[in-house]
């Protein structure tokens, strides 16, 4: 696997961290947000946080699809599985997210709900094809990366005239979340953003232009490989030092200016923007989520099961996921981090997904808080 190794070269990393140290002026503090959970995970997994100078702080952003899903949406999926007797298909990460009444999809499964973990949207469609006498619902989540596959199966379901398949759509959009982060009142400002890798391959680097224009903050789109990230951070520091606020693309081997137009067209054909969508941590954001177009209404689980009405459910009292997703707090600031809340017994969603800030810090980073005996 030459390809992967190339981007994990220790000597190159050393050079990059030296350049970062040179670029970071000791007189100032740099607060940079990695928007995407994939980056949060990579920063911890490759031990990059410890390689950055102390005055370059990485703030974890809300770009983790499982983390931003509010409890009320999971409740809907659980109700489908338990009250409507459907086969509920979900990506594995969602199964353990705590919902109301100490439930989760996994616990719903233990109570007899037919909940199945799928690896791809297509798997859900296959399950529907193979179980013609059962209603099958795909619990669709994610940013722009997972939206095209969902659009594609809805179109295929139409072609195959499936009458037993629908989608509970929770797809969300990157740009409104970025805007929400940058317009938050009364919080220490960010100097720049590391832009998402996979999302940007779909939406294209030009999409971020509106953000840099409006907020005058630099964005550097960066790949998920550790060297990509270090390079992206270096490029951000340079922009900050030079007073620039541009969209730069470190991940040119995959991200183009316009993005993947075919995928965009597919998504546009099947989905339209909702007036508003509730995010964990960010609250209700206007025009931030997608719903299935009327033309495909028969595949919309929210229409097929009209009693499924979303209700807002507050997070666990002690859980700081909201503040963490807004970049205001760190996992270790949560009083129950690592004691009551662990990956084996998650209280909030940020401890569930491997891309969640709490899970990443618990799994890879928490040793750094302990003083060593030797």
């Amino acid at each position: 696997m030459k390809y992967v190794d190339e981007f994990r070269d220790g000597a190159l990393a050393q050079n990059l961290t030296e350049s970062i140290a040179l670029e970071a002026k000791s007189s100032r503090t740099y607060r940079l947000m990695e928007f995407c959970g994939g980056h949060t995970h990579a920063l911890s997994r490759y031990g990059l946080l410890g390689m950055l100078p102390a005055n370059v702080q990485m703030i974890h952003g809300p770009g983790c699809p499982v983390c931003v899903l509010p409890i009320g949406r999971i409740d809907l999926a659980i109700r489908l599985a338990l009250e409507h007797d459907v086969i509920l298909c979900s990506y594995g990460d969602c199964l353990r997210v705590p919902a109301s009444n100490q439930m989760s999809l996994l616990k719903a499964k233990a109570r007899g709900g037919d909940v199945r973990m799928v690896y791809s949207a297509l798997d859900a469609l296959k399950i529907a094809t193979n179980n013609p006498t059962r209603q099958v619902v795909f619990f669709a989540i994610g940013f722009e990366t997972t939206t095209p596959p969902t659009a594609s199966i809805i179109r295929q379901a139409r072609v195959a005239r499936l009458t037993n398949f629908s989608v509970l759509c929770n797809h969300v959009l990157t740009l409104p979340a970025m805007e929400a982060i940058l317009t938050q009142p009364g919080e220490v400002p960010l100097q720049g953003l590391v832009g998402p890798a996979h999302v940007s391959t779909v939406i294209g680097s030009q999409s971020y232009q509106s953000i840099t224009n409006r907020f005058n903050k630099p964005i550097v789109i960066s790949g998920f490989e550790p060297l990509d990230l270090l390079q992206g951070i270096l490029m951000l520091l340079r922009q900050v030092n030079e007073g620039r606020a541009e969209v730069e693309n470190e991940f040119t081997r995959a991200v183009t200016l316009a993005g993947n137009r075919k995928a965009q067209a597919l998504v546009h054909e099947v989905f339209e923007v909702r007036d508003s969508f509730e995010w964990r941590g960010l609250g209700s954001l206007p025009f931030s989520g997608l719903k299935i177009r009327v033309a495909f209404a028969e595949f919309d689980a929210e229409l097929r099961y009209p009693d499924l009405i979303y209700t807002n459910v507050p997070d666990h009292k002690a859980c700081e996921c909201g503040a963490i997703l807004r970049g205001e707090k760190r996992p270790q600031d949560c009083k129950i981090f690592g004691t009551v809340c662990t990956p084996d017994n998650p209280i909030g969603s940020c401890m569930v997904s491997s891309e969640g800030a709490c899970a990443a810090h618990y799994t890879y980073g928490r040793f750094s808080e302990v003083k060593w005996a030797s």
Binding site: G47, M117, Y364
Partner: protein, 351 residues
Amino acid sequence: MSKGQSVYVRPLDLKHGRVDMSHGSGGRASAQLIETVFAALLDNEYLRQGNDGAVLPLPPANSRLVMSTDAHVVSPLFFPGGDIGSLSVHGTVNDLAMMGAHPLWLSASFILEEGFALCDLQRIVSSMAQAAKAAGVAIVTGDTKVVERGKGDGVYISTTGVGYVQGVTSPSGDRARAGDAILLSGTIGDHGMAIMSQREGLQFESDIESDSAALHELVAVMLATGADIHVLRDPTRGGLATTLNEIARQSGVGMVLDEGSIPVHRQVVAACEFLGLDPLYIANEGKLIAVCAEADAEQLINAMHAHPLAPLAAVIGTVIADDACFVQMKTKLGGKRMVDWLNGDQLPRIC
């Protein structure tokens, strides 16, 4: 059953036949299955006696008995590099070997699912026979039960092993000390990824083979160096990461690993990358971890390199004093991170 009777018995159709409930009833059909499949393939002097148990000789004087048991459920039953039969022998032999023991005998019980193809059963039992023969152990007693269709995954095999150790000290999970070296016998993740490459919904092209193998001869070679091996473990379920955390906790120590020295096949890295998994958490069935005094590491590694199962053996880290029992790792990039216990099940990522 004597030869005289069998002329009147319709022979078992090993080509097209299937297991049915009568094969577990204890009646004639059970006896026939045992005779034509199990006894025939696993044949040895103890099994031949056809009794409910095996009467076995005592191990050498001044030795101590070691016993271990392992249940095997695996899907798919046949995978590149092995099958549930060979796995059920290697698993228990290795459990004994990790105690520093010389394995002698195994017992085996089979839970068969109604409808299971007899030809597959035959294939599995002959693979067990082969694995046992190669490992120099005998399967001396066994049992078979049949469960209704839908209540099992084809076949479950549970094996128990008995062996012996000589000498007073034997390796144990609580003997790792600060300053010790951590040795690994070869590449990680091969077994788990070989299985995963065959799973429904995940099938991907690869020629990754399971590393399923009996490790007791490698262990014997290592013990013969005279080195005091503090800990021996095979990193099976939960992978290298989980096993090292178990040792750290049992011994009350920390560890620092060097990522660059941990051998992994490129294909395993690539497949893990693709599925969003970490090879450190993927199961192995033919690898061992040894912890020994730093001074003994070199001769142990040399001895391991000379054995066909461990040409890539390497020192992968050191034991440190740490009350929190953290396993840390210097990444190839030069950073540092923790290597935690496996959290729940490793799930392929979605983004």
